[in-house]
């Protein structure tokens, strides 16, 4: 394994990411009043997921980590989602 050069994220990169996150937050709050009916949770979760992904890839540096780390984090979230979905096979069909 070679001695890798450590990637240093620039201050401006961090600042841009914050601005993106704040914009997404604004969107999230604004659409609260809209009527999505049963999809309101989904919309909220989608926006939250984009924010979470942004924090993970940029602030937490996942974008610059190796493939295995990326697979791990994807796997972990997938596993969690599957557990929730399977639990709902019970609740949804009772």
């Amino acid at each position: 394994m070679k001695n890798e050069e450590t990637h240093i994220t620039s201050y401006s990169s961090h600042a841009i990411v914050l601005i993106i996150l704040l914009i997404l937050t604004t969107i999230s709050v604004s659409v609260t009043g809209w009527h999505f009916g049963p999809f309101s949770v989904l919309v909220a979760l989608i926006i939250a997921s984009i924010k979470v992904r942004t924090v993970i890839t940029h602030f937490m540096h996942m974008k610059f980590e190796n493939l295995f780390m990326k697979l791990m984090i994807t796997g972990v979230f997938t596993l969690f989602a599957l557990v929730i979905i399977i639990t709902f096979i019970d609740y949804y069909f009772r």
Binding site: M1, K2, N3, E4, T6, I8, T9, S10, Y11, H14, A15, V17, L18, L21, L22, T25, S28, V29, T32, G33, W34, H35, F36, S40, V41, A44, L45, I47, A48, K51, V52, V55, I56, H58, F59, M60, M69, M72, I73, V76, F77, F80, V83, I84, T87, F88, Y91, Y92
Partner: protein, 204 residues
């Protein structure tokens, strides 16, 4: 695997970081259990959840979200600073992160105090008289934000330790694994809040 020539500081840092990431996964699953309970009861009592959520102040919630998002940026910047050997800037950024965390906790304190004033807490008679879905919403609210606040406190302790160690030079341009891992932990605290905020405060 490791070759003898490659086993160095950088290798140990990557090892430490991997350990921290795995710890973060455990935290995700810890909160995950609560999210599962939330999902079940939100589905069952969607109207009650909607009504109960009106008791929460979306403005304070948004403020807290902004505090944590900015604090994530400042802690990430503090790592950039230490990597560039800008010691004073790193210390300043960690301090700002701590300040934002403190503001978050202050808001949380006022929120909870306000609820307690109206006898809205688990086990109270007021809560018992509410419709069941609303009771469960508040139970989830207190347990989820409570557990989250505990993690904010732990994060603040970690950040304080980092502040001192940067000051004394123990955390520096070469040895900054502690700061990096504390930063990861702090981002996790932020991540959980990013999910909590819309699910508790922004229910339409």
């Amino acid at each position: 695997m490791v070759t003898p020539e490659a086993y160095n500081e950088h290798y140990e840092n990557e090892t430490g970081k991997l350990g921290m990431w795995i710890f973060l996964f455990t935290e995700l699953f810890l909160f995950g259990g609560l999210f599962l309970v939330y999902a079940v009861f939100r589905t069952k009592y969607s109207a009650d959840f909607h009504i109960a959520a009106r008791e929460l102040n979306a403005f304070i919630g948004t403020m807290n979200t902004v505090f944590l998002l900015v604090s994530s940026m400042t802690v990430a910047m503090s790592i950039t600073a230490i990597q560039k050997n800008q010691k004073k800037l790193a210390m300043f950024l960690v301090l700002v992160t701590l300040l934002l965390a403190a503001l978050f906790m202050m808001n949380k304190y006022f929120e909870w105090a306000h609820k307690f004033e109206f006898k809205l807490y688990p086990g109270s008679q007021v809560l018992k008289n509410l419709p069941q879905g609303e009771l469960l919403f508040f139970g989830l609210y207190f347990m989820m934000t409570g557990l989250h606040a505990l993690h904010v406190l732990i994060g603040m302790i970690l950040l304080s330790i980092n502040f001192i160690k940067i000051k004394t030079g123990k955390v520096n341009q070469v040895h900054y694994l502690l700061l990096e891992n504390s930063g990861l932990y702090w981002h996790l605290v932020d991540l959980i809040w990013i999910f909590l905020f819309p699910l508790l405060y922004l229910i339409t």
